[in-house]
Amino acid sequence: MSEITSAEYKKVAVDSIADPVLQSALESLQSRLGPATQNLYQNLPEGQELRKTAHGYRRKAIDNLDILLEALADNVEKNGGTVHFAATDKEAVDICLNIARDHDVKKVVKGKSMVTEEIGLNHALEEAGIDVAETDLGEFIIQLADEKPTHIVAPAIHKTRQQVGKLFSEKLGTPYTEDPPTLTFDARKALREKFLTADMGITGCNLACAETGHITTVSNEGNIRMSTTLPKVHVAFMGMERIVANLEEQQSILRLMSMGAAGQQIGGYVSYIGGPAAENHCDGPQAFHLIIVDNGRSKILADEEFREMLCCIRCGACLNVCPVYGKIGGQAYGSAYSGPVGAVVTPLLFGVNNAADLCTGETLCGACRQACPLEINLPRMLLALRAKLSEGDAKWGVQPKGKSEKLMFEAWQKIIKRRKVYDLFLKIGYVLQKILPAQDGMIRRLPFPFNGWTNNRNLKPLAAKTFMQRWKEREGGKQ
């Protein structure tokens, strides 16, 4: 249903690096949010331990997912809501389409939701003749421009105000301006109209609470709250892992999520939604549906190596520090999930071979783990994915990638196994490197397949004598 373009990773990455507007947007985003988040972690009233504790809450929830989901479903239904479990993206979309049909829905307003992007919901609704309006300002902009998001939380950072001005005047018919407050007001005017006429509001769910049976949404524009209260039907989608046991745990995690997402103590609008409006109550939707989506998550749950990934709350903190994301932006990752989280979750949800470059296209610097409010060990899982790609894996249906690298490493292993053989190869290398183009005693051009190194940098040549030789000579001289 939804498709990914992760095979284009390298190509889009190269284009993104060459795009000065994007580069400056990414630089500004990372220099603002990365340090802001770290600063909040350093000043947690509970101390640094809170992040470990919160990881424990998430982990406990994931380990007891069946029980918690059942409790959530029971409690939501007690509150008058309806709960649907969807095994696949198609099922999730169909459930939503049926609800729309039952209520004769013509117009939908949406709060920002990653899982609806994952399952390709907008496209399906539009195919069914339903008008869909994203109401998060960034999402609204990229929907108008028909573009892909650059960031999980800040999807339109690649657009300049001039581009947005032009876009609004074309699509909204407003007079051209590049003044951000005026542009925001234009968007607000257009969106208010959408809110007031929508028959259905669709949102995600940041984190559900099993014991009380409510979901939470967090935003800074108030748009999600309006999407859940103004239309007569509210449909919330949640990935089946987005749950904790109780309010106390939920509160800690929502705070940490806000720190990771936007460098805030807590998001501007946090809504606790527990079902439709009560009888004889004039405000709120008449119907509330919660669609709990599996779509590959059970498989992640079943694998101890990757189960930790289900602790992720999609705050995007890892994007705000990742050096690779900071250069290539979100579109290169080819799915709704970008940055380090995307590099792990996209292969797991959409197939490891389909997203092979995502598994290998990082430096393993560990900045993501340091920035993660829940200290999720993304580098560990990237390494595990690489192992599956290099050696194949039946359980995940992974075909080993190209043989040549494997053969190279196997040959290398034979060489490093014996020092004498290793020394022989080093000697040959030492002689051969002399025919390579040089600059100030450095190698200027390497042959295929190492040529990538020397596009823009040189390489130190092999020394005439290895340290081991020098050491042997030194020790020999002592006797």
Partner: protein
């Protein structure tokens, strides 16, 4: 130092084959601190390049060789945070399903130290009496800083070098873009990252960029050299041994 402790050198392959003077400086510093240094000369590589590329079988074979060579050593010291991280942390991943091997690699990991960590945390020395006339900036390597949590130690040693001016570059702890085979497979991304790093180094006004890992410094040197910058890369051992960069 009351008695002459024995340390065994675990020399990163890049140092052994491209930067042998770094290991020599390390020997000078360690011997200067009154230690007896030995070096098993049949060592080659700890297997990290294969491991990071996902070739765990190959990495496991390299790890087995490493264990055979170093198992008898009392204290193992290496000039690379990245290699120490491999031995201390990732060897345990490689043998997680083999309890006997796991116990062996755990034991060896506990005796393996990064050079500055060994001097500061084990020996309790922060001033080795070095002197260096120049302006130096420090690059905090990722595996060293984030995986081994070693940052205070090299900075303390640098701060105590006489006559040296230490300047902080922008984003000193940001990745240089090396990442092993990543640098070749995704060279465009890698180059964009090392370009930022090199620009920050140059902007700091330093004559030397120092670090604790020649992997990163090799990458940085590659771009400094291509840009024909006069800034030199130096392993911290060279500074502590009082080597000149001329």
């Amino acid at each position: 130092m009351q008695k002459k402790d024995n340390v065994t050198l675990f020399v990163q392959c890049i140092v052994d084959t491209m930067y042998p003077e770094v290991a020599e400086s390390m020997v000078d510093v360690l011997e200067g601190l009154g230690l007896h240094v030995d070096c098993p000369t049949e060592q080659t590589c700890c297997g990290q390049p294969a491991f990071n590329a996902g070739h765990q079988q190959v990495a496991r074979a390299a790890a087995e060789k490493f264990i055979t060579i170093f198992e008898g050593a009392q204290t193992i010291v290496s000039p690379s945070g990245s290699c120490v991280n491999m031995v201390r942390n990732h060897y345990q991943d490689l043998f997680k399903d083999d309890p006997a091997m796991l116990a062996r690699v755990k034991a060896i990991g506990e005796r393996t130290f990064e050079f500055t960590e060994y001097i500061v945390d084990v020996l309790g020395v922060e001033d080795v009496g070095a002197r260096f006339n120049g302006k130096v900036t420090y690059h905090a390597s990722c595996h060293l800083n984030r995986f081994l949590h070693i940052d205070r130690q090299p900075r303390a040693l640098l701060a105590n070098i006489s006559d040296m001016t230490l300047v902080e570059m922008k984003d000193a702890d940001k990745c240089c873009g090396f990442g092993g085979t990543f640098a070749v497979k995704f060279s465009e991304i890698s180059e964009a990252l090392v370009e930022d790093k090199v620009n920050n180094i140059i902007a700091s006004g330093a004559d030397v960029v120092a670090g604790c890992d020649m992997g990163c410094l090799m990458n940085i040197e590659g771009m400094l050299s291509r840009k024909q910058s006069p800034v030199k890369v130096m392993h911290i051992a060279e500074l502590l041994a009082g080597k000149s960069y001329e």
